[in-house]
């Protein structure tokens, strides 16, 4: 069999030059010591950010009307989570890459029914409130058309609603049991009991905060706080953290696509799926670089290696 021709982008020349002493253990030890010292200096100088987590309690106390408006969208099924689609529910198809409905194919594995999980079920845990118990029974026994009518009436009245002196004032006259439910849910939220009810629905021990996080993400409080700290998606938010810290700077390329057309404009509805698809392609190109003609020749052609091995070429 004929010997394959030497390809400078694939094959390496056999080195016949000099060798120099090299103490790999000493080098490793010095590196660890230097990096450890540098880490200590940076930690002492700059510390690390730790902004307290937001709770539904803090949200509903700070902006009660935003909480009520959000809770209503959870009850009537118009919130971001209620209309999300997979993996939470089947209200939508989810994002697509062309004809590929990846999210739909993977199915609904994190089941969230906002009306029940965020409103009805937590309210059902409250004991000794006869008016609320009656309201929940009425709500449960009503047809979906009846519920929709009550919810529409309440949502309409919410625009002129107020919250003062610890009481929710919404002048909805044809909203059936909804006003009682919303007042009770608001009181529950402001006391901190809703935070607990949302995480302990499946038992005492919990490590899953999906439901309260989705609920809060549907409101404006979490996002307004992020906006004020320059953390929104259109502010390169996904790679940043609170304060002036570098954050996940290594996500710059991924985050960049969200800032530029067409991802930020005409492809907006499927931007997440398309950015991910695009990043997957770029990642594959990077991983398979040694086998991609053209791309693998760039280093040889741009000659930055001459700078790296300048001593070698000087002595050659």
């Amino acid at each position: 069999m004929a010997k394959k021709a030497f390809n400078p982008d694939v094959d390496a020349p056999v080195y016949k030059g000099k060798y120099a002493p090299y103490d790999i253990i000493k080098e490793g030890t010095i590196a660890v010591v230097v990096v450890a010292l540098l880490t200590v200096v940076l930690a002492v100088l700059f510390s690390s950010p730790d902004e307290k987590a937001v709770t539904i309690k803090t949200w509903s106390n700070a902006t009660p009307m935003d909480f009520v408006a959000t809770a209503m969208t959870e009850l009537d099924g118009t919130s971001g989570t209620a209309t999300y689609g997979p993996p939470y529910n089947n209200a939508a198809t989810g994002q697509q890459v062309g004809p590929l409905t990846l999210a739909k194919w993977m199915g609904i594995n994190v089941n969230v029914n906002t009306a029940n999980d965020f409103v009805v079920a937590p309210l059902s845990t409250l004991a000794d409130q006869p008016a609320l118990t009656t309201a929940l029974t009425t709500f449960a026994g009503a047809s979906s058309a009846q519920r929709a009518s009550w919810e529409a009436d309440y949502s309409k009245a919410l625009g002129t609603g107020t919250f003062s002196g610890g009481t929710l004032q919404v002048s909805a006259t044809n909203a059936g049991p909804v006003p009682v439910m919303m007042s009770a849910l608001t009181a529950m939220a402001r006391s901190g009991a809703l935070d607990q009810a949302l995480v302990t629905a499946k038992g005492f021990y919990t490590t899953d905060y999906t439901k309260p996080l989705l609920f809060m993400a549907d409101g404006s409080f979490l996002a307004n706080k992020a906006q004020a700290q320059h953390l929104s998606g259109d502010q390169w938010g996904m790679m940043n953290e609170t304060g002036s810290y570098p954050g996940q700077a290594w996500l710059w390329l991924y985050t960049m696509w969200y800032q530029v057309p067409p991802f930020s404009t005409s492809w907006g509805a499927n931007a997440d799926a398309l950015v991910w698809a695009f990043m997957m392609i770029l990642t594959l190109l990077l991983a398979l670089m040694p086998w991609i003609p053209g791309l693998r020749s760039i280093p040889r052609k741009v000659k930055i290696y001459r700078l790296i091995w300048r001593e070698h070429y000087k002595n050659a």
Partner: protein, 203 residues
């Protein structure tokens, strides 16, 4: 004729290992003279930073996920963890670009390159799961934002970024195991094949 001992799996593994990676390759005392540039510092810096990341992570793990919010010492250890991660990524990215411009995959070193890229991705995952496991506002915001990206790929059905328990397990068990194993493979490849020689220039 091979004996029964020669045919044993253990014997065959030992012979292969010794043949592919003899002690003087594993722990060399000389290097080719061309290995003389600052760019070579960033590989070992990445390794050193990984060691500090793991060490500080272990201290945080010993006291549990909420400790660092409640104790000054805990917060300092968290700061060490954060800054060692920043050094780790900084060094790794420079290492990656340096290796690209040296076309370091040449001479049968393709798998060294590929394991390096996979290591970079594993580290991005480890960093991300760390950010969403901080149990503070940053983790709330980052997880509620990132869910849309992961859900859009269908990944949300098996990888729920809003589930603290799941993210923390990935952060402190699965991804570190993968990162350490891949690092070992990557470094062993480097030791087996040696540092890529310079391009031969036609005069």
């Amino acid at each position: 004729m091979s004996t029964e001992i020669d045919r044993q799996w253990t014997t065959r593994l030992r012979k292969t290992v010794v043949e592919k990676l003899p002690p003087d390759k594993l722990l060399p005392d000389t290097q080719p003279a061309y290995v003389a540039s600052w760019i070579y510092v960033f590989g070992v810096t990445t390794l050193a930073a990984l060691a500090i990341v793991i060490l500080t992570g272990c201290v945080l793990a010993m006291k549990g996920p909420l400790w660092w919010h409640l104790s000054g010492t805990g917060h300092f250890v968290n700061s060490l963890h954060l800054w060692s991660v920043e050094i780790f990524f900084f060094a790794m990215v420079i290492h990656l670009w340096g290796k690209y411009f040296m076309a370091a995959w040449r001479g049968g070193r393709q798998l060294t390159w590929v394991t390096g890229v996979v290591l970079f991705l594993t580290s991005v995952g480890a960093g991300f799961t760390g950010y969403v496991s901080q149990t503070n506002y940053d983790s709330q915001w980052i997880s509620t934002q990132a869910k849309d990206g992961i859900n859009a790929t269908g990944g949300g059905a098996i990888f729920n970024v809003l589930n603290l328990g799941q993210m923390l397990m990935w952060h402190i068990v699965l991804l570190p195991l993968a990162a350490v194993a891949l690092t070992a493979v990557h470094v062993i490849y480097v030791r087996i094949k040696g540092v890529v020689p310079p391009f031969e220039e036609v005069k």
